[in-house]
Amino acid sequence: MASTAAPPPKLNRIGLPQHDYRGAKTTLCAGCGHNAISERIIDACFEMGVHPHRFVKLSGIGCSSKSPAYFLGRSFGFNSVHGRMPSVATGAVLANHTLQALGVSGDGDTASIGMGQFIHLMRRNLPLIYIIEDNGVYGLTKGQFSATADLGSLQKSGVINDLPPLDTCALAVLSGATFVARSFSGDKRQLTAILKAALAHRGTVMIDVISPCVTFNDHEGSTKSYKYVMDHEEPLQEVSFIPAFTEIAVDYDPGTTLDVAMHDGSHLRLRKLAHDFDPGDPQRALQVLTEAHRGGEVLTGIFYIDTAKPDFVTQLGLVDQPLAQLPLEAVRPPRAVLDEIMRAHA
């Protein structure tokens, strides 16, 4: 009798193994931060019991934007055009707001060519998780600086960046996003917790994930290298997430920990570290971001969260059923309507 069979894989709350959340084999460089982010997305979706058929992933163009092919292979994906993923995601979400949508962009795709669409996406508070895989360089075109590269950062070729960076988190807060965070591809615990909370949020979630480029921006003098980020990461809070479906009550100390109740009954717990910080105050968010820049810190954590502001779908007053699936009789007015309009023009 054979007794050497592998143990059955662990199943999540909807009965799927983690393997069902994997995608195609990555074609990015070994050690690329983006691969780690894909792993965290797989972890978060598996642990939260996201149904792969109820999930869509979208992206623009660049190394980052290739990554949706490498996670959730049973979900629909759309690799669109450079810097324009926000608009595609907007149309897709409005056409079927019952699906969970996640967009992956890069620092070039967002902070340069895509800046206009990025800001307007935040402004509309579209229910979408928007991840920037941020490495400060254009990888596919071999290492030019992007607009998030820090002032004074050194390019591999020896060029020093002499323009200040755009802070996508600060821009997201200013523009109206309702969940704004920064993390590091190497910070497994924090990034997974933020992603799980993101899945529970209704509105635009903007997560800037510092994700070192091992080929073009991981050298001495770069401020987006693994070493630099590990040496300079300063977590704003300790982030933990308690899903709605968990039966374990987790106590917390209201004196040191902020509890954020999410729409679906889950809880986001933010334990204070060095900063006394309220993520419900956009002014304060901008302040800590500015101070971090000044101090050369890579400040990570959740800078802003607003669970009350209605998302774009709510603002538009859409019917519950996906617009894409409405039957003809729901969307073609009866003959009498055309007759009435014709009479008004007679």
Binding site: P52, H53, R54, V56, L58, P68, A69, G73, R74, S75, F76, G77, F78, N79, S80, V81, R84, P86, S87, V88, A89, T90, G91, A92, V93, L94, A95, N96, T98, L99, G116, Q117, H120, R124, L316, G317, L318, V319, D320, P322, L323, A324, Q325, L326, L328, A330, V331, R332, P333, R335, V337, L338, D339, I341, M342, H345, A346
Partner: protein
């Protein structure tokens, strides 16, 4: 009052200088922002209600207030609705343009003008009707600040007398115009009466431009092409609308928003539609792509500059095969061009919009009825062929007032194209590839996000892909995909709206035209026959790529004139490429590109010149 039949009116051919009965063109020259549009619409509606065929064209500047604007109404007992080149009756109220406007008139024309402009001395071959507008408006409108608004109604009353309008119809048109504002209607009606009484006392002779009741508009409607196109979208069941304001297309989405709010809310007040005013045209068409991918009927509307911005996304739509409907209400380019003037200058650009080998489906409505009908059908074509479909209207068609038969309610359900459900996928047992040509028509089967099946998902991308939608840089994958896309496009030829043989003739010349050129071509055909004995056949193109009937038409005639409202003869060029060298030699190009709607006289003269007549 008895209604003389059309034949009675035609019984006596007009002698030189004789009365122009139901056959003239009236132009109102004012200043933009002076509120003359209400007066012009009352005139237009009065004629329409008197059963006289009309068309109304607004020639306006790119400006909010202060620059010259002209509104032209044509009455034609023959039913001609194209712009008439000659103006027979001028209402001159703009001091800035009055002298030029008067100088442009043909001998015998009439001028109704604001008395202080003192125009009568300019020419001795015109009829003059000086009217003291300020003096007349003061007693009927004691409130000085309202006078500017009702002052223009004076000319309605004067013209009503000079042209024999039926006053009850004038009042009905006016009360319809102000149907929600009784007080404004009363005030404006008083101004009309003041003008009418003044004219009756002052000009007992009346003008040669004269009106008499006909019965040629019974059952018809008057509508703008943009409103008609919006109705097409409404009855097509559009659900996601994304747009960015641009003249002359803005009113299309604005009409659509109005209809959606009125007719597409559930009893609970929930919307069966989403409208987004996007940050630019790139985003607008991007939203349409996202919605079309998700399976919604989605549209945007724009004009030339927006089309330029949409080039990259529509290439994605073509290559990744995503349904989308894009209305292009054309204006004069290149660049900002003449934003408030009309042209057909985007044809060649949209036909292959984007880089690489891109070929689109283009529909060419030639009337307001077709703005509705082809606008509606565009959604079927987009989903059937899984590709962006362009509907090319223009400013003349889109923003001007046209008569039409009432639009017919769609007699067919919609065509959502080849979409597989979870049950279909079960049946296929994994034997499905998104971009595989199963039916020989080049059109693959797609699945929609949210389909609950482990094999439903595929990855949509603008990069090279295999028939299973996997990333591929393989030469054979690329070449096979491009060949299939071309096959699909060619397959649409005989299924798009077919060209319409508007007039047949056995002579030596044929005419090919499209879009808003249609009414001028119809009138020019009559002019060619009456003036030169030339009987031309006329085939109206309604879609690109062309059906085989176009080549068959060209083969029948040694000379075929292709009418374009652009400098470069863009349709002529597309036809020459499509028909091949032998037939292309038969094509001759007639081009009109001054920003004004095409008129029959220009067209007739151009054809006669090329014919050496």
């Amino acid at each position: 009052m008895p209604s003389p039949a059309l034949s009675t009116l035609d019984a006596a051919p007009p002698a030189p200088g004789a009365v122009l009965l139901n056959d003239f063109s009236l132009q109102v020259a004012t200043v933009n922002g002076s509120g003359s549009q209400s007066s012009n619409l009352v005139l237009l509606r009065t004629l329409f209600q008197m059963g006289i065929p009309i068309s109304g064209k607004n020639l306006f500047p790119s400006n909010i207030a202060g620059l010259p604007t002209w509104y032209t109404i044509r009455a034609s007992r023959h039913g001609y609705v194209a712009r008439k080149k000659e103006i027979d009756f001028l209402i001159a109220l703009n001091p800035e343009t009055a002298r030029d406007d008067v100088a442009a008139l043909a001998p015998g024309a009439a001028v109704l003008y604001d008395e202080p402009l003192a125009l009568a001395g300019l020419r001795s071959d015109l009829a003059w009707y000086p009217v003291p507008f300020d003096k007349l408006v003061a007693p009927v409108c004691p409130e000085a600040k309202l006078r500017k608004l009702v002052r223009n109604m004076i000319y309605v009353g004067v013209a009503a007398h000079l042209m024999d309008m039926e006053m009850p119809e004038v009042e009905r048109a006016l009360r319809q115009q102000f149907r929600k504002k009784k007080k404004a209607a009363d005030l404006n009606w008083a101004a009309v009466l003041a003008g009418y009484e003044f004219a009756r006392a002052t000009f007992p002779q009346k003008d040669r431009c004269r009106l008499a009741r006909m019965d040629a508009t019974r059952g018809k409607i008057v509508i703008e092409g943009n409103a008609a196109a919006a109705l097409g979208c409404l009855f097509a069941g559009v659900t996601v609308v994304a747009w960015y304001p641009i003249t002359p297309s803005s009113s299309l989405c604005e009409y659509l928003i109005g209809y959606l709010k009125q007719y597409r809310l559930t009893p609970e007040g929930k919307a069966t539609f989403a409208v987004v005013q996007a940050e630019d045209e790139l985003a607008a068409v991007g939203m349409v792509m996202g919605a079309g991918w998700m399976g919604a009927r989605s549209m945007t509307s724009t004009s030339g500059p927006g089309i330029s911005l949409m080039a990259e996304f529509t290439g994605l739509g073509y290559y990744a095969e995503i349904p989308a409907v894009i209305f292009d209400v054309q204006r004069v380019g290149p660049s900002t061009g003449l934003p408030t003037r009309t042209a057909q200058g985007d044809l060649a650009f949209t036909a292959s919009l984007s880089h690489g080998d891109t070929r689109h489906l283009v529909l060419l409505p030639g009337s307001v009825e077709e703005c509705y009908r082809l606008g509606l059908e565009a959604f079927d074509y987009a989903e059937r062929y899984q590709t962006p479909v362009f509907v090319l209207s223009d400013l003349d068609l889109g923003m001007n007032h046209w008569m039409a038969e009432p639009f017919a309610y769609p007699d067919q359900p919609w065509d959502r194209g080849k979409v597989l459900t979870a049950a279909d996928l079960d049946r296929l047992q994994g034997d499905w590839a998104r971009y595989r040509d199963v039916d020989g028509d080049g059109i693959g089967y797609r699945t929609l996000p949210g389909t609950d099946h482990p094999q439903a998902a595929f990855f949509t991308r603008g990069s090279g892909h295999s028939d299973r939608a996997q990333y591929s840089e393989r030469a054979d994958d690329y070449a096979a995909n491009m060949a299939r896309l071309l096959h699909k496009w060619n397959g649409a030829r005989e299924h798009l709206p077919p060209p319409k043989l508007e007039r047949d003739a056995a002579g030596e010349i044929g005419i090919l035209a499209y879009g808003s050129s249609h009414p001028a071509v119809e009138e020019a055909l009559d002019q060619l026959a009456a003036e030169a004995g030339l009987h031309a056949a006329y085939l109206r193109l309604r879609a690109y790529p062309f059906a085989a009937a176009v080549a068959e038409f060209v083969r029948r005639f040694p000379r075929v004139y292709v009418v374009d409202q652009n400098r470069d003869g863009q349709m002529h060029g597309l036809l020459a490429l499509d028909l091949g060298a032998e037939l292309a030699l038969r094509l001759r190009s007639v081009r009109h590109y001054n920003g004004l709607p095409l008129d029959a006289r220009s067209l007739t003269d151009a054809i006669l010149a090329q014919e050496g007549r």
